[in-house]
């Protein structure tokens, strides 16, 4: 489907489903190298997002409206590190999405903006075992695919696949940002929860774009 407001709504609702499904897994990952709340935090946030969407009198007109609603809701319900980081990501993404539906380069711009927002807030670079390790390869892969003249759905598919690989690749890393950094060497051998939730979010984006 086209990356229009209907897609944005579908993406967000699908994300809520996927996060709910993987709530325990995400908290479990966080329990190993953090404080065990990441699944609960994300689920609380996306349940609230869906609640707000359901309560809207008029449906949002644009992709940007949907993303802004997600941003403010996550900001005020998730808490922890992930709340402000994802909140900023969606807020920055909202700012670059155009009026109607996104083409491939707009999709890339959206991902770039999200990544920039996360880095601006969290000051992490790649290799620090954070969600940046999922967002960075996702954005790079999206840029490459878009350069080949692919569809917006292909862009998101490439981003999702790269985010999944990026999340897997956090396993051997020693964390140097976020709560996992307190563990030092003991953080190695575990997958980063934030990178994992990023992969789920982008997979939901790709699947809904592909009409799956």
């Amino acid at each position: 489907m086209a990356l229009d407001v209907a897609w944005a709504l579908a993406w967000v609702r699908r994300t809520a489903e996927v996060v709910a499904e993987h709530k325990v897994e995400l908290s479990e990952l966080d329990r190993e190298i953090g404080d065990g709340d990441h699944g609960e935090n994300m689920n609380r946030g996306f349940v609230a997002v869906v609640g707000k969407l359901d309560a809207l009198e008029a449906p949002p007109a644009q992709v940007a409206d949907v993303l802004k609603l997600v941003a403010t809701t996550l900001m005020s319900t998730v808490g922890g590190a992930a709340g402000p980081l994802y909140g900023t990501a969606y807020l920055r993404a909202a700012k670059v999405t155009g009026l109607e539906s996104l083409d491939a380069s707009a999709a890339v711009a959206m991902l770039e903006a999200a990544l920039e927002g996360i880095v601006a807030r969290g000051k992490a670079t790649t290799g620090e075992k954070t969600m940046v390790d999922a967002w960075t390869p996702a954005t790079t892969a999206a840029q490459e695919v878009a350069g080949n003249g692919s569809s917006p759905a292909d862009v998101l598919a490439a981003a999702a696949a790269a985010a999944e690989d990026g999340a897997e690749a956090t396993i051997p890393l020693v964390a140097t940002k976020g709560r996992a950094s307190y563990l030092g060497e003991r953080s190695a051998g575990h997958k980063d929860p934030g990178a994992t939730s990023t992969a789920y979010i982008l997979r939901a984006a790709a699947d809904t774009a592909a009409g799956v």
């Binding site: 404080d35 808490g79 980081l85 140097t176």
Partner: protein, 331 residues
Amino acid sequence: MKKLINDPSRVVDESVEGFGLAHADLVAVHTDPIFVSRAGGAKPGKVGLVSGGGSGHEPLHAGFVGLGMLDAAVPGAVFTSPTPDAIAPATTAADGGAGVLHIVKNYTGDVLNFETAAELADAEGIEVKAVVVNDDVAVEDSLYTAGRRGVAGTVPVEKIAGAAAERGDDLATVAAVAEKVIKNVRTMGVALTACTVPHAGKPSFDLTESEIEIGIGIHGEPGRHRIPMAPADEITEMLTTPVLDDLGLGSGEQVLLLVNGMGGTPASELYIVYRAARKLIEARGAAVSRSLVGNYVTSLEMQGCSVTVLRLDDELTALWDAPVHTPALRW
């Protein structure tokens, strides 16, 4: 998991409601978003103090709202930093026109959420400064971590900065006093058992009957290393020596010694640790001139404790001694 709760998702709401009912003379509880402020409202002309963080560390922070300490506290979900939409109105409630100090424990989530709230308050015309407490010597303060965690050292920061605000210091001075405490306070903790976050329903880590975690934080996160169970005096030595070394505590100095229970440890054991820690301090030729022993910064029902040492001078001692009247600290 056996807990005196009704519903994991209602723990913070119901507990804060009960807290507000029990201490209605001292605090007012606001709901949706949830925060706690002084019963009388902000004191005109006084710098406001706001702190907050994940719940599960009670009495921190709401237990320290009152005369001579905090003006407002913002409890997040259990072990999860509160959100800006709660911190911002707490900041407004704490503002008496002289600006507000945010006392933030050094966790990425806390720092980011307080930062955003400060921006919101600034947009409302409230001047906000923030200090970040990072007293946990178990974590190396290096390029390769998010810095040290803020743990039990938060109590003297809130107490002493609160006294400075109460005596009429301006925002910059109150912030400087808080920074002085932060620069001179260090903590290290141990866990004998893990704790169970209500919605998680199982322990935050697994420890056998013969293991303990040294260098634990206050969020049920594992510590820096795991060792076999040892006598209290040895454990106290493992906590206190890094604290004293990092402080560079020397002969002739005076300190506040805080032995803080993690929630599930009997007071009798805390006093055994206090006794041992005090001896170690005195062995360096320093003197313990102020003491605090009890559950102040907890991790739910975790068994264990932390040892906090604050280097005192006359100013900090006088501010520590200044009157305080809150649900959890009073003199």
